[in-house]
């Protein structure tokens, strides 16, 4: 076997070990590099910043255990951002797992809140919890909240929640922040809330879904988007509260370089082998 074949037949597990090291190393000793802010993140932040005090915003919490490290920091900072501006928040989720992680985001955000900011459950924010049925569930919730939710995530009957007294349809909200994570649920928000009710929407999705939604952003159906951990880091930066996301965004450096190097190396070896065969 020529050197080439031996290099190409490298055991998978060696590559896996290299990847583990490339990802773990920057976590153990982080290096922070300058990072410019993407336009999508800036648009999303500025739209959130433009929400007038006293208005009510709907937030879909779609982060799971796997995507919370990426979206969680951004969502927490946005909750602080809104509560400090006295914007009321109504949360809901279309998954059982995501409903539980939305509670985590709210709790972490409340801890980060400067003292003196009103953040009472049921008055400043409420978590309506899990709505099953995917896109149909979103449509049911958007058209008549009380038809699908009789109590909030913590069991409080909906009629005892002051914040929900005048709210029962999507048009009662000033905006929607759709933290879809990797649910692929952003089209549900666009089709069942933006289009029928005309409520403006921004949100977050994991890095791999950003290209899918560029058409909705370019057409104005969605106002910017927070893309993956980098988007969260940029939101943290714009809020002047750098935190967990920035370190994780930096940790993708060596992994990304290793991947790029392996692709180039693999192709170089492939082309050399192909030219050798042609020469034979």
């Amino acid at each position: 076997m020529s050197l080439m074949d031996k290099m190409l037949a490298l055991d998978q597990r060696i590559i896996f070990a290299l990847m583990f090291i490339a990802l773990a190393f920057p976590i153990l000793n982080p290096i922070i590099l300058p990072m410019d802010i993407q336009q999508y993140s800036r648009d999303s932040f500025e739209f959130a910043d433009s929400i007038p005090a006293g208005s009510v915003v709907l937030i879909e919490g779609g982060l799971t255990a796997a995507t919370y490290p990426q979206g969680g920091p951004g969502l927490e900072v946005q909750i602080v951002h809104m509560l400090r501006k006295d914007v009321k928040l109504v949360f809901f989720s279309i998954g059982t797992e995501t409903a539980a992680w939305t509670v985590t985001a709210i709790n972490n955000a409340l801890e980060k809140l400067p003292s003196g900011v009103a953040a009472e459950n049921g008055v400043n924010w409420v978590h309506m919890g899990y709505v099953p049925g995917g896109e149909s569930g979103v449509a049911a919730f958007a058209n008549d909240i009380r038809s699908v939710k009789t109590e909030d995530h913590f069991g409080t009957p909906i009629d005892q929640i002051p914040l929900m007294s005048e709210i029962n349809k999507a048009s009662d909200f000033v905006a929607v922040f759709w933290w879809g994570g990797s649910e692929g649920s952003i089209p549900f928000g666009i089709r069942q809330i933006v289009t029928p009710f005309g409520v403006p929407m921004t949100g977050m999705c994991t890095t791999n879904e950003v290209p899918n939604y560029t058409p909705y952003i370019n057409s104005g159906q969605m106002i910017g988007i927070i893309g993956g951990v980098r988007g969260s880091a940029e939101y943290e930066y714009l809020m002047g509260m750098p935190g967990l996301a920035l370190g994780q965004a930096m940790a993708t450096n060596f992994g990304g370089l290793l991947w790029a190097f392996l692709v180039v190396l693999g192709n170089v070896l492939y082309f050399i082998a192909r030219r050798e065969e042609a020469a034979k």
Binding site: D11, I190, T206, G255, G256
Partner: protein, 225 residues
């Protein structure tokens, strides 16, 4: 040792169990996978049962008898477990699929179809607009299946394929970064200063255990492929 730290350590141990599948299927990875499926199954069962109870059973107990029909449809769904009664489950499926398709179609025609067409009507004053128009039209036309590829359609088809490949290339690059972010998210919790020592000890134990298993052939070693 408060429950938060205990939780992080337990999380680190089970993550190592899950990652051990990278070496090749072994007892630890299979144990971890089945533990995961079991707990997640239980979680989904309990949370959805809570939803059915609060949204269907409680209203009936409080006198709103319309929801008896919903409970009936749920029971009919369970007839799928027996082949002869399968036809009973067609009624609840008809409700969900009928409503699901109706709700998707009614707004998709405006949000997706007309929305994207409207957004692509751009003045031919810039290169970007020109590329966007040609790209959208040829990418949509790529999926025309009743035009034969001999005539001029061949060039439309090939141009559309280039734009689609660019879209998939971008998705590929973004997905690679996304997958790394998933691992980083897990490693951040496993390598926290107060948890790192437990992670290293567990890694050592797993390495020794598997090494012993492979050495004594109790666990099948998958040759490097």
């Amino acid at each position: 040792m408060d429950s938060f730290l205990l939780g992080l350590i337990a999380g680190s141990f089970v993550s190592i169990g899950a990652y051990s599948v990278l070496i090749g299927d072994n007892p630890l990875s299979k144990f971890t996978e089945n533990l995961y499926m079991g707990i997640l199954g239980g979680f989904i069962f309990a949370t959805n049962w809570n939803y059915v109870r609060t949204s269907a059973i409680n209203p009936v107990l409080q006198g709103n008898y319309v929801f008896i029909v919903a409970i009936l449809l749920c029971v009919m769904l369970f007839s799928r477990l027996k082949a002869e009664w399968l036809w009973l489950s067609r009624y609840p499926v008809a409700v969900t699929v009928g409503a699901g398709l109706g709700l998707a179609i009614r707004t998709s025609v405006m949000a997706d179809f007309l929305g994207q067409i409207n957004a692509t009507i751009l003045p031919l004053t810039s290169i970007d607009n020109l590329v966007m128009i040609i790209g959208t039209v040829t990418a949509a036309a790529y999926f025309i299946f009743t035009a034969q590829t001999e005539g001029p359609y061949k060039y439309v088809n090939q141009t559309g394929r280039i734009f689609l490949l660019a879209a998939f290339g971008v998705t590929y690059g973004q997905t690679v970064s996304f997958r790394f972010e998933l691992v980083i998210g897990r490693l951040v919790d496993m390598l926290r200063p107060e948890v790192a020592i437990y992670t290293y000890v567990m890694l050592l134990l797993v390495a020794l255990g598997l090494g012993y298993g492979y050495y004594t052939k109790k666990i099948k070693w998958y040759s490097g492929r």
